[in-house]
């Protein structure tokens, strides 16, 4: 039996987003794989150089579609770092709430989404519907379901609407009751164990060597979380744990997601309690209105996204527009290098599970 060429994507139900993997298959085993990014390339880094500092806030959430808020946070924090501006305390707490809600939404999506590649569609239907409850909070907060553009340089766009806190508490209670249900339904399924355990295994050394971060790294037993190692916002003022697993396989990665949701719920509760009242934004740079100037400088800011380290390098030449913005997509290492070198040896059946559990997110690779 010779090698067969197979396309996995871009038009393939097992593929999340518009991404393609070219596989050479022998029997059922992938012997060679080539990533094929670029289908979602829009040239963000170029477009951002052409827009004002504040105009970019509308542009950047679109870099990472499932979890847009991290873009806004990175961008805003990088500008604040260059301009050396202290953001009001309340704004920082609100940012943390938004980021953690986004984490919950994305984890729910991908945790339930494991039903897609494994054929347990019901879990996907339930989880995505529950994710909508988080989006409802976002809608009330910012007016949009997906792209919120809520975190802006200098703080957040406006204060929390009245009574939103109660709704967030209500949502957290609901989710806290719901997560064990999902865990029973998904993680305790014996057939799912046979599908996920031992699949897409990766060890700590490889992770560190090629730069896999986030859940992929934590599932190999190292508690590396940027929120702990290099705390941004007020992550050093709240208590939370970094859940880890030791197996480093698809099951370990999936099983960390509900645990992280529980931790996020804990963080949001603390934020809501500790949040002082006060202003939520502050003026940045010189200039009037939205047409500001940011002093010359360069800063790199990274946050912990659901897939790992997500970073922005912002360079300013003192003008009205950014001089250069570079984005570090969290799934860059596993999506390109990982697909080429770690995917071979996997069976065709497990390729969608590999891609799904590694968290390969096409838009942030392509930018």
């Amino acid at each position: 039996m010779g090698e067969v060429k197979l396309f996995f994507g871009p038009n393939h139900p097992g593929m999340h987003g518009n991404f393609s993997v070219h596989m050479y298959v022998e029997g059922d085993i992938v012997v060679k794989a080539r990533p094929m990014p670029g289908f979602l390339h829009r040239g963000f880094e170029k477009l951002m150089e052409r827009r004002l500092w504040y105009q970019n806030v509308a542009l950047i959430p679109r870099i990472c579609v499932p979890e847009p808020d991290i873009n806004e946070a990175c961008y805003a924090m990088a500008i604040e770092k260059i301009a050396r501006v202290e953001v009001p305390e309340r704004a920082q707490w609100i940012r943390m709430i938004v980021l953690e809600l986004a984490r919950i939404a994305n984890h729910l999506w991908s945790f339930g989404g494991i039903g897609g590649p494994t054929g347990m569609y019901t879990s996907m239907y339930w989880a995505v519907a529950d994710r909508d409850r988080v989006l409802d909070i976002f809608e009330e907060l910012s007016g949009a379901r997906i792209y919120h553009m809520y975190i802006v340089p200098g703080g957040v766009r406006k204060d929390l609407p009245p009574k939103l806190e109660d709704k967030i508490y209500h949502l957290l209670d609901y989710l806290e009751a719901k997560i064990p249900e999902y865990e029973t339904f998904i993680l305790k399924n014996r057939i799912l164990h046979t599908r996920l355990k031992g699949i897409a295994k990766i060890d700590t050394e490889t992770c560190l060597k090629i730069g896999v971060t986030g859940i992929g790294l934590r599932a190999t037993g190292v508690p590396y979380d940027i929120r702990k190692v290099d705390p941004y916002l007020f992550y050093d003022k709240v208590e939370f744990e970094v859940p880890t697993a030791t197996e480093g396989d698809a099951y370990a990665r999936i099983s960390l997601k509900p645990k992280e949701i529980i931790q996020s719920i804990r963080i949001i509760r603390q934020c809501l309690e500790k949040m002082p009242s006060g202003p939520v934004n502050v003026k940045i740079g010189e200039g009037s209105g939205l047409r500001i100037r940011v002093p010359r400088g360069m800063a790199y800011v990274h946050v912990e996204s659901t897939r790992g380290e997500y970073g922005y390098l912002v360079v300013s030449d003192g003008g009205e527009k950014p001089y250069r913005v570079a984005v570090r997509g969290a799934s860059y290492p596993q999506g390109l290098y990982g697909v080429e070198h770690l995917l071979p040896g996997t069976r065709i059946d497990d390729v969608p599970i590999w891609l799904d559990s590694m968290g390969v997110c096409a838009p942030e690779i392509d930018r």
Binding site: V4, K5, L6, H12, P13, G14, G115, G116, P117, T118, G119, M120, Y121, T122, Y125, W126, A129, F185, N189, I191, L192, T194, R195, R347, I348, D349, D350, V351, P352
Partner: protein
């Protein structure tokens, strides 16, 4: 004349109730997934719509394969007794049905491989592998049943059950094995590997367009009808026409409900599963039958 009417009756039943029950099945899945679901007649629209579209052929092997698949399954269907409603009385022999049934399956395999799409070939290979998996325990159980009644005529077994009670109570182990095999025949989770959309882009169907898709959907409906009918006849006592349909619906919804909450096995896991637990149970059933218990 009466034979023709009866054949038409069987085919129309399979067409109408097969598609209706599939629609109801979709509704049940939807309710499990906490949503409303499509109307019960959705599958009729789907099939008829595909017939109105302008599709492509992939060469005469493909055309012939599709026709052979549908024809083979229709031929099989005419021999299947719907409870006490039989198109060809006396000819509804289990072995005839099994034999004819392979014509449809082979036709499908031939047509789909004829498309030349590698995903389709993988799907067909998986379907045939899965068949190897479930046929072994299934045939062992059914053979033990036939041995017990000393007949391979399904109608006779249905009649015996109306006196002696349903086989599901007399041979519970065998019924369990047959039901697990039925889940594989229907291609429902956890034995969905042959068409797994996320893995092999719906496998055998990948190159089917328009009319061919419609014909294959019909063929699939008829195949399901044959498979479940045999189960109902052999284990649930057949009954008259309406009892038969009611039992049919029960089995179908039960299968749907199981499939809605399970993920799928990998193909070799599925075969391994069939050759361990159900096969062992099948042998226990054979032992019990031979020992006369």
């Amino acid at each position: 004349m009466a034979v023709a009417a009866r054949v038409a009756g069987v085919l129309l039943t399979a067409f109408f109730f097969g598609l209706t029950f599939e629609g109801i099945g979709r509704k049940v899945t939807a309710r499990i997934q906490k949503r409303y679901g499509p109307p019960w007649y959705q599958n009729f629209i789907d099939v008829l719509k595909t017939l109105t579209k302008h599709g492509w052929t992939h060469g005469w092997i493909f055309d012939f394969g599709v026709v052979m698949a549908l024809g083979g399954v229709i031929a099989t269907l005419t021999f299947v007794p719907l409870g006490n409603f039989v198109a060809f009385p006396g000819l509804d022999n289990f072995f005839v049905i099994v034999y004819l049934f392979t014509v449809g399956a082979l036709g499908m395999a031939m047509g789909m491989v004829g498309t030349g799409n590698p995903w389709a070939s993988i799907g067909v290979a998986r379907a045939l592998t899965l068949m190897l998996g479930y046929e072994v325990p299934y045939l062992i159980v059914i053979t033990s049943l036939l041995y017990n009644f000393k007949t391979s005529n399904i109608s006779t077994i249905v009649e015996i059950q109306s006196v002696n009670g349903w086989n599901i109570f007399r041979f519970p182990i065998g019924a369990l094995v047959a039901f697990i095999c039925l889940q594989g025949m229907l291609g429902k989770e956890p034995f969905e590997a042959p068409i797994a959309p996320a893995e092999i882009a719906s496998g055998p169907m990948v190159e089917l367009s328009a009319k061919y898709m419609g014909l294959l959907m019909l063929m699939n409906t008829f195949m399901e009808f044959v498979e479940i009918s045999i189960f109902v006849d052999l284990f649930l006592g057949g009954g008259n026409y309406f009892e038969f349909l009611l039992k049919y619906l029960t089995v179908w919804i039960f299968a749907i409900m199981i499939s809605a909450v399970l993920p799928r096995f990998r193909i070799e896991q599925a075969v391994y599963f069939y050759w361990t637990v159900p096969l062992l149970l099948a042998f226990i059933q054979v032992f019990l039958v031979v020992a006369g218990m």
